[in-house]
């Protein structure tokens, strides 16, 4: 059951988006997210939505998986839309006590929801098409200039890599400990939330202790392999931007132009 938890899911296919240099991909995806907030009317937002759907199709990953990515934020999505519906200004369409629904409220709710959905879809495109190693690697290289401000970029990237490496190992271990405690008669399924949380303590403590032991071992193993921080370190894989990255950048510039044009062309579609 615990193995269902997925983190940084990566679905390898041979699509063009997979082949884009991870550094370029991270930067472009961040830029797309900014576009999303630049888009201020339904025209430009619709344009961004279309682009996102096209990108999703290019990745060759089943669209079903993208909708799965939405599930965790469904609650936030509902919450914000409900709030927005009731917080609009202008003429009420429907009123009950202090609660009033306005045309403006509905518009804002739809606009914000679409924006959140597209935002999540865009981030999914990044994590679904880039392996965790590539992601941390690219982040390390993108953040390299920050070393000027004495930020330990290499150390941060190393911690991320190790965390990603140990997530499956620790999940497996949690499963084992839970089974071991169940075999000793621990009851983890019944009772209210407080009782369930209390039942997790005998699982968390052994997990905690074993994580420390693993960390000590790992430190020894790393020292044995001459690890001494990022200084003087080389990498096996050298990232090189190629033709496809240039195409991706050009495509993004066109999209940005499109968003601005839509913003200017459809002022009547702006949420009032």
């Amino acid at each position: 059951m615990i193995k269902d938890i997925t983190l940084g899911q990566f679905f390898p296919t041979n699509s063009l988006i997979h082949k884009i240099d991870p550094r370029v991909k991270i930067i472009l995806i961040s830029v797309y997210i900014v576009f999303l907030f630049i888009a201020k009317n339904f025209g430009s937002l619709g344009f961004m939505t279309c682009i996102t759907v096209i990108l999703m199709i290019i990745t060759k990953i089943p669209l079903k998986l993208y909708f799965k990515g939405l599930r965790p934020v469904l609650f936030i999505l509902l919450f914000t839309s409900v709030l927005n519906v009731f917080y609009g200004s202008g003429e009420p369409i429907w009123q009950w006590g202090i609660l009033k629904v306005t045309w403006n409220g509905i518009q804002t709710a739809v606009f914000v929801s679409v924006r959140i959905v597209v935002l999540i879809m865009i981030s999914c495109i990044l994590t679904y098409t880039t392996s965790p190693t590539d992601l941390t690697d690219a982040l390390e290289r993108i953040m390299k200039p920050l070393t000027v401000f004495k930020i330990q970029v290499h150390e941060i990237a190393m911690m991320m890599t190790i965390a990603l490496r140990f997530v499956p190992t620790l999940l497996e271990e949690t499963d084992k400990i839970m089974n071991a405690q169940k075999a000793r008669g621990a009851d983890m399924e019944s009772g209210g939330i407080v009782k369930k949380l209390k039942a997790m303590i005998p699982v968390l403590i052994p997990l905690f202790v074993s994580s420390f032991n693993r960390a000590f071992d790992l430190a020894v193993a790393m020292e044995c392999r001459c690890y001494r921080g990022g200084k003087g370190r080389t990498r096996m894989k050298v990232l090189k931007a190629g033709k496809i990255d240039v195409i991706a950048v050009i495509f993004s510039v066109i999209v940005l132009a499109g968003v601005i044009v839509c913003n200017v062309m459809f002022p009547q579609l702006t949420v009032k």
Binding site: L218, V220, C224, R225, G232, T234, R235, M236
Partner: protein, 278 residues
């Protein structure tokens, strides 16, 4: 063969607890050594002294003529002597097999092309090349341990110390790892120091050191060491089952010239005995 590791009057203690007591020995280049002994007899401490994870309290250890005096020496020694630990899960750093194998080389600052070549070569020599793009947690214990060994080999050390590398593995995994270790010793001429609890593994080596309470109890070829059955029994250490069987026959007045070490030798010996009788 030249001397590779020289241990001179080394002592070490954790606080009050003396773990190593005035130990001296030498290991030659290309030897295959087994270290036997009970838990807490100082085997693992010795392993950590070889590549300067610990520093001896008194005495001196030299590796390939080098004594660790400053930090540069420490890293020089660590690139000559690799250490493989017991739990394969805890020594793999990266999320992809080949990235993990490259980790040591990357730390040494080797150019990318050369790392690529070494990683491929190391993975081939432990027979894990086709798994190079897999995630470590999806491999079996034996496979993980071989990846860990590949990570050390890629640094091209002259010696590999293995601290109970097969203790957490199933028989299949143990066999894979032992085959790999033997191959590295015979074909690549890498000095191997194997710490183990399994007598059938110790039998495959050139020389055995038996440790007890921080001292070396006895040493010699497997034949020499395991012929001292009484001494080992007294310290409640095991001998290989084949040796044990013939030793018991000795006690019942059936004497043979030598004690066998492997089941095959034992069978041959028994056959000879039975033929003589009939």
């Amino acid at each position: 063969m030249k001397d590779f590791i020289k241990v001179n009057n080394v002592s070490f203690s954790y606080g009050e607890n003396k773990v190593l007591d005035d130990i001296s020995f030498t290991i030659k280049q290309g030897e295959f050594i087994a270290l036997l002994g009970h838990n807490g007899c100082g085997k693992s401490t010795l392993a950590k002294l070889f590549n300067v994870l610990l520093v001896p309290e008194s005495g001196e250890i030299s590796v390939d003529g080098l004594v660790a005096k400053n930090e540069d020496d420490v890293y020089k020694i660590r690139s000559k002597v690799g250490l493989v630990l017991q739990n394969p899960d805890n020594q793999l750093v990266a999320t992809i097999v080949e990235e993990d194998v490259a980790f040591g080389c990357e730390n040494l600052g080797i150019p990318p092309k050369e790392i690529r070549r070494r990683v491929d070569e190391a993975l081939k020599s432990v027979d894990m090349y086709e798994y190079r793009t897999h995630a470590p947690h999806k491999l079996s214990g034996g496979q993980k341990q071989r990846v860990a060994i590949a990570g050390i080999i890629a640094m091209q050390p002259q010696c590999i110390v293995l601290d109970e590398p097969t203790a957490m593995l199933d028989p299949q995994g143990r066999k894979e790892v032992m085959d790999t270790i033997r191959y590295l010793n015979k074909e690549k001429n890498i000095t191997i120091i194997l710490i183990t609890h399994y007598m059938d593994e110790a039998v495959q080596t050139d020389r055995i050191f038996v440790m007890d309470k921080g001292k070396i109890l006895t040493q010699g070829t497997p034949q020499e060491v395991f012929s001292k059955v009484e001494l080992l029994k007294e310290k409640s250490l095991d001998v290989p089952q084949a040796t044990e069987l013939i030793y018991r026959l000795h006690q019942h007045g059936i004497s043979t010239e030598k004690l066998p070490l492997t089941p095959e030798e034992c069978i041959a010996l028994l056959e000879e005995l039975l033929n003589k009788k009939s």
